[in-house]
């Protein structure tokens, strides 16, 4: 390109424009500048008009150069705009600054508000207290588990149809289907028994409350996240009679002396013999109503003697030790006690709902 070309000092002109942009320190000036830079009367637009004077053979290259310069300027303009925005934002935050260490706590007037414990947490505590009174300790466990703890150690091998009893959320870690959101609190049993075996004394008397997850579209009776409490006893000479006795004692202690329990056969992979436990319908006190389908009984949870396969998985000698486990829904207890028509109210956190519990 010849020196006489109108684009001869394009680079210098471009750099001058960028220098001007960089100098701007407020939005108003920047917007004014925008018109001068890239608007109809801007330097670059004027140069555009001169392209016609350039020999046709060079015109294409010259046009490209000019476009490049324009893009450069525009980009810089946009960047400066965000810079100014950031500066303004941080200036605003800066003007907001409060050194919390300098807050004179005694001078802060805190309004008095009445708080309300969560119904589920309260219910969990009441249930724990009943079991603590019966000699149980309380154990916690993680919400994300491996398939081994959630399934296989509980006698539910991979691909076994009984895994279908739980609609499982799988977590995207490790090999497919190896990490799960626990579908029940039962994996905590395995952790407890493993720890007991490691400690050299397989005895366990514990309840394990916690949040569990099932891949189940929420409705009035189910939530995808829910709370369970699980019980586990491992000791010498433990029988099904002990299980039935614990369930009955708990039922009367928690629901009241007019409510009793009964067991009926059921299937769970991790217990054998297994049972569902039902309690006297708390609505009709056993006389039969819609809630209990006129039977006078409502299903509360599952239980059974620890399956020999489970004892084997954790390395407990089944000829010396035996045990039982049971589990049921904490939310469901809350629902029954307060006749909550729609469980979804529990996760809506509406202040008007929360206020009712104390």
């Amino acid at each position: 390109m010849s020196d006489s070309s109108p684009l001869a000092n394009l680079d210098a002109q471009r750099d001058e424009l960028i220098r001007q942009i960089n100098e701007v320190a407020d939005f108003a000036t920047l917007r004014q500048l925008e018109a001068l830079l890239v608007g109809k009367r801007s330097v670059l637009t004027n140069l555009q008009r001169t392209l016609g004077q350039i020999p046709e053979t060079e015109r294409k290259d010259a046009g490209a150069l000019l476009q490049g310069a324009r893009r450069h300027v525009e980009e810089r303009f946009a960047a400066r705009y965000s810079e100014l925005e950031a500066i303004e934002r941080s200036a605003k935050l800066e003007s907001d600054r409060l050194d919390l260490g300098d807050v004179v706590a005694g001078a802060v007037r805190v309004p008095i508000t009445v708080g309300h414990p969560n119904l589920v947490a309260t219910t969990q505590r009441e249930l724990e207290d009943v079991f603590v009174g019966m000699g149980f300790s309380v154990a916690d466990g993680p919400e994300v588990e491996s398939d081994w703890y959630n399934f296989e150690a509980l006698n539910i091998p991979p691909a076994h149809p009984s895994r279908g009893m739980w609609d499982t959320f799988y977590v995207d870690l490790g090999e497919p289907e190896t990490v799960v959101l626990r579908t029940h609190t039962s994996p905590t049993q395995i952790h407890l028994m493993e720890a007991a075996v490691r400690a050299g004394d397989p005895r366990v008397h514990a309840v394990m409350p916690g949040r569990c997850f099932r891949r189940d579209t929420p409705d009035a009776r189910h939530l995808a996240a829910f709370h369970q409490i699980e019980g586990l006893v491992v000791d010498r000479g433990i029988t099904f009679a002990d299980l039935a006795g614990v369930i009955e004692t708990f039922t009367r202690a928690y629901f009241g002396p007019s409510i009793s329990s009964r067991l009926r056969p059921a299937f769970f992979p991790f217990t054998e013999p297994s049972a569902e436990f039902e309690i006297t319908c708390t609505i009709c006190q056993g006389s039969g109503c819609r809630t209990c389908s006129q039977t006078g009984w409502i299903e509360l949870g599952g239980c059974g003697m620890l399956d020999p396969a489970v004892l084997e998985a954790v390395g407990i000698d089944g000829s010396e030790w035996s045990g039982f486990a049971f589990g049921f829904g904490i939310d469901r207890c809350a629902q029954m006690r307060h006749q909550i028509a729609d469980m979804r109210a529990l996760i809506e956190n509406d202040a008007r709902f929360l206020r009712q519990f104390s």
């Binding site: 935050l93 907001d96 600054r97 919390l100 260490g101 807050v103 004179v104 706590a105 005694g106 802060v108 805190v110 309004p111 508000t113 708080g115 947490a121 505590r125 603590v132 000699g135 300790s137 309380v138 993680p142 919400e143 994300v144 491996s146 398939d147 150690a153 691909a159 149809p161 009984s162 959320f169 799988y170 977590v171 995207d172 870690l173 090999e175 289907e177 190896t178 891949r215 996240a225 029988t239 099904f240 009679a241 002990d242 039935a244 006795g245 009926r264 056969p265 992979p269 054998e272 013999p273 389908s293 003697m305 399956d307 020999p308 035996s322 996760i347 956190n349 202040a351 929360l354 206020r355």
Partner: protein, 823 residues
Amino acid sequence: MKIPLSWLRDFIEITETPEQLREVFDDLGLVVEGVEFTGQDIGAVVVAKVLEIHPIDGADRIRRVLIDAGEGPVEIVCGAMNFEVGHHVPFAPVGAVLPGDFAIAKRVMKGITSNGMLCSARELRISDDHGGLYILDELISPVIGERLVEALGITPDVIFDISVEGNRPDAWSIEGVARDLGARLGRPLTAPTLATPSGPATAEVAAASITATTECGRLSVSVIENITVLPSPTWIQQRLIGAGMRPISNVVDASNYVMLELGQPNHPYDGEKVAGRTLGVRHAVAGESIKTLDGVVRELAKPGRGLGDSGVDVVIVDGDDVILGLAGVMGGDDSGVSSSTTEVLFEAAFFDPMTIARSSKRHGVRSEASARFERGVDPELTLRATARFVQILKESCPDIVWRSSPLDLRAKLPEVPVIALSEADIERTLGIRIPLEDAAELLKAINFSVVSTDTGVDVSPSSARLDVRSGDAGRADVIEEIARLYSYLRLPRRVPTWEEPGGLSRQQQLRRHLRDVVVDFGASEAWTPTLGSDSDFELLDSGERVRITNPLASEESVLRNTLITGLVRAWARNVERGNGDLVLSELGNVFIHPSVSSQARQTKGGVSGSVTLHLPEEKEHMTILLGRVEDDARTAVAYAMGVFARLGLSDVVLRTPPQVPMGFHPTRVAEAIQRSTGAKLGVIGEVAPHLLGALDVPAGRRVGLVDLDFAALSHEELTRRESSEARIPSRFPSALIDLAFVVPDAVHADDLRAALQISTAQVESVHLFDVYRGTGQGEGRRSLAYAFRLNSEEGTLSDSDIATLRESLIAVARGLGAELRAQ
């Protein structure tokens, strides 16, 4: 499984009322989910023929229909659309009372009088079908005016809907349920009538082979000739309908009948469509596919995503090695029985439960057959089921010929365990001594074999009970059967005791205490979702997140890494409803991806726990959102300091965090540090303005925020350090002095306070009471004024004592870069 009482009565005498029977079923573990009374209250319903159908002006959901029910044309207004002129349908005349106390009366709609009602199958409680009127032409040769109960041969029946547990494949049949009842009620079972084969040998025309010998344990193939395909007799149709299946034709109905009655899935092929009348069972090989009855083309032998799934599919092939069906799951759509079929090649087989379970899961097909096979069908049932099939088919085709010597191949069948059992074993599990003879009687009633030994008995389960394992586990299985048949309700109860007292751990007690304190200070406890969306996650963090592989919805696909977003959302909804004057708290877990966590959990997983897995760190947070009008970072400080005090933590200082903590306002935030250990207990401040904006909180609101780390709060060292002996306050009067220091901004007011507090035993308390930033202090400094209470346990402090103390306090402050402010 739906069990019609009338069908059950073929097998066992029943004298109990339906209510009594329900209790017996429940107590046997055959849980009754519903009881339905059918064929009742429909005595007035008659067969009517549709004569004319006319639209009604101004109504597109109802039509005017003229019918003939034997007494000339009757005008009806009808909302169903599934019928045509000439169809025969059930008609309930005015005055009839249908099931559910539904009285039929004259009604006028759009000026037209409806003189009765045309009915769907559900309205008559004949089946669940409510897709339109119950069209009778497909079922029977209808006669106008005939009572429906007679036309269909309906007798009143009771249908029990029984939920069959996963370990009771045998109970997924009428006979199996009857067997349990017989064992409990002590009544004999009547065996069903079975046909016997006759005529020329099967092998002359047909062949069978098993090459997948591990997966297919038995294959029985029969040839049945001289068949005419026509509708089944009404009583058979009625039973199928009662059990929840739709009648199709005599051959298909007989096949379903046998599956429902005995529990053997089976397949009748059109003999002429099967090359060489040959059925083979082999593995599918990669690249093969099948179009199943449901019209879906399925690629076979492709390993699935499921854990431990190697992709084994077993297929049924004909003499030309053409695939006819996915064994035990679903047939293909070519070789089925049609109206022109005259000869049936009948297959009844036993397949390995796990193979079928994996195939069914992998292909996403669940059929009546796969559901039974995956639980374990009685391998000894194939020929008996075939004989029953032929017998049922004879009801409509008395002249059929079942060729003699049906083909019957056996390969690998499950071993039948032998389980040693003693009275002591039973007592050890159930806590009751049941005489072995009584237990044996119960087991024999469900076809278990019981042989006496020196120490007790050897028990072998019936072939229908593949769920019974061997060894210790098998013993537990057998004891469950004894308990079940004996009745759980008769078992004793005892309350066990043990030496160790029950109780909560220190950490659990602290958790309760924390919750109580937070509520006492005005918070309402929320429960916000553990699963959130990517966009919610990205509001605060762009890094690694823990994802759900199979979320129900994209809004619930990421495990939360903070409670803040959920709480702000919950609060914002309350603001919308005008209830935002509120403090919300939540105690819950947040999840940190193992690749970015220093505390990732390592555990075993995968098949047999053979793989080491890295699981997310689970951190328990107590997060408190202060959303009242007066709230801001200041009230958050007061709130948090109150909580710390109630937890017995007095040595807590606030410091500016090195980085802005997630979710917090960048310039109105502090970390709460336990001074002596340096442990970070939590963060205090305001919710980040951009988060409030993103969640549509009205502009200009300040929202206080306290985010506590429960693990840090409950750390043993922390509580040990701070719990100390009680001090009795000095009886001597305290001296009050104020000191104001000019302090560099880098020095936290709390740190200076703490240093002054512990500098000498004579400092009873120190409180910051004024902060002043003015021109006098110079850049980067402010004046902090503290009020001191000084005293001594030995006596009243003298002026000179106080002056000395004052000097030493000034010296301590100077050590931190603070200068006494010039008066």
